[in-house]
């Protein structure tokens, strides 16, 4: 077939020959692929987290201002990064689902939410544990903290809305719309330490300037963040497999799966 040159982008995109990986956009091909990926991802996550936290807790030097208390950064910062990143990922898959009407995208958004909420909670809680010795307060109504708390409520609202709607298709679309509306909060969190000069310290790591921390601190932080990232990927894929099984339980390909038919 000759390519249609003047058709809109979407038509050309779908009409032409699809790349080989395209088949993984469908649940029957994606499900076994995710199953093969998960054990490897879990092992990598454990290794990276052990390495990052080991460097952070055992090797990195003591901070000259905050003493040993700063070491919670190796949990706090990766969790905070992941909480925002996962919301962006959730909103991305929600938008993809709304635009292309692809069911797996909605399931992906659904699978990301609990992990994102978990990391948001960890970021808030470790922040409280860090704030107590350094600021002398468990909680202050600072812009960064408040906007991160709002992120937790946005995750909670997304999950509550999806679980309150019985029809899965309507739940998918309504949740996706809510995820997109809430995405305005993420830049607010990200820039809050710049826009409002309040108690929360500014960014410690920047791409445009030399790191202000010892290299072993930076290494531990980056490894822990990478480990949290890989953990999130593994956890989301595992949850996604459960959602796929639940939603596609009437499909023939599910009945033929070795773990189901056995």
């Amino acid at each position: 077939m000759r390519p249609v040159l003047h058709a809109p982008f979407a038509v050309r995109f779908f009409a032409g020959p699809r790349p080989g990986w395209w088949k993984y956009a469908g649940a029957p091909a994606f499900y076994p692929l995710a199953g093969r990926l998960i054990p490897g991802l879990q092992a990598v996550a454990v290794a990276l987290l052990a390495l990052g936290l080991g460097i952070g807790f055992l090797l990195a030097p003591t901070d000259h201002q905050q003493g040993e208390a700063y070491r919670i950064i190796f949990v706090h910062v990766p969790a905070a990064w992941l909480s925002m990143l996962l919301y962006m990922a959730m909103a991305f898959w929600a938008a993809t689902g709304l635009a292309l009407n692809s069911r797996l995208s909605f399931m992906m958004a659904r699978a990301i939410a609990p992990t994102g909420a978990m990391f948001t909670f960890v970021a808030l809680w470790t922040g409280a544990l860090w704030g107590r010795p350094t600021w002398g307060a468990w909680w202050v109504w600072d812009a960064r903290l408040t906007s991160e708390l709002l992120l937790l409520f946005l995750y909670a609202g997304f999950m509550a809305l999806q679980s309150a709607i019985d029809d899965p298709r309507r739940g998918d679309r309504a949740g996706a719309l809510l995820a997109l509306v809430g995405v305005v909060n993420v830049p607010v969190i990200y820039f809050s330490v710049k826009w409002w000069n309040t108690l929360h310290q500014g960014a410690s790591i920047s791409l445009s300037s030399a790191p202000l921390m010892a290299s072993s601190m930076l290494m531990g932080l980056l490894l822990a963040a990478l480990g949290a990232w890989v953990y999130a990927l593994a956890a989301v894929l595992k949850r996604l497999r459960c959602i796929v099984l639940e939603r596609e339980r009437h499909a023939k390909w599910v009945a033929r799966l070795p773990e189901v038919s056995a």
């Binding site: 509550a160 809305l161 679309r173």
Partner: protein
């Protein structure tokens, strides 16, 4: 286009006027919530004066939340909403009309009542002006953002509590800028920065919220 808008607003206002008790309930709720604070924290004048803007704003948020349930629910129940979605007129425009009518019914009375409540807390005249102006700019934002949540929770189990969970986090910027304007004015600073931010939020919400609401309505009507 404007005719459709005017038509929807007139219809919704008429419907609201025929059920005056709903309208009054919102206003009384607003006054009651504000009244509870002096009873709860004690009648110390200085404390109440410093808390007044926040109290009035939080009460306005809650009162607006209370009236949001009615925004689409009745039309959804009797099938009018479906006809509106099927009509040749753009749904966004109909949504905008309904939201404006909601603001006229639920938001404007709060703005008009707020000076009296502010007097009870002993706010000076200039602060009352800032508070009222802030509410005047802020309450349409509450209606616009609330409409999204109201449309998303249409016909959903436990819709009322869910609506609060979805909408209140989105209301937070309005609360911060609105109450912040009065506090800035009280501490001798210029309230203009907060007002301009509030106006910016209103412009953004006016441009985007009706689209999101009509998308949510189409999802609910599928």
């Amino acid at each position: 286009m404007l005719k459709v808008l005017a038509c929807v607003i007139r219809r919704d206002l008429l419907l609201a006027f025929r059920r005056r008790s709903d309208l009054l309930a919102t206003v009384f709720f607003f006054a009651l919530v504000v009244m509870l604070f002096p009873l709860g924290v004690g009648p110390e004048a200085g404390l109440l004066r410093s808390m007044a803007p926040g109290i009035v704003w939080v009460a306005a948020l809650l009162a607006s939340l209370l009236s949001l349930g009615r925004l689409f629910a009745l039309d959804f129940a009797d099938g009018t909403l479906e006809q509106m979605a099927l009509s040749a007129e753009p749904l966004v425009l109909i949504v905008l009309g309904k939201v404006l009518a909601h603001w006229l019914v639920a938001g404007v009375p709060l703005v008009m009542l707020s000076p009296v409540l502010a007097l009870q807390f002993g706010l000076p005249g200039a602060a009352i002006q800032v508070l009222c102006l802030g509410l005047l700019i802020g309450t349409p934002i509450l209606s616009l953002l609330g409409a999204i949540g109201s449309a998303l929770t249409l016909g959903v189990r436990g819709g009322g509590v869910l609506l609060a969970l979805l909408v209140l986090p989105l209301y937070v910027p309005v609360l911060i800028f609105g109450a912040g304007a009065v506090q800035a004015q009280a501490s001798g600073l210029d309230a203009a920065a907060h007002m301009l931010l509030l106006g910016g939020v209103l412009a953004g919400a006016l441009a985007l919220a009706p689209w999101a609401t009509s998308a949510a309505l189409r999802i609910a009507l599928e």
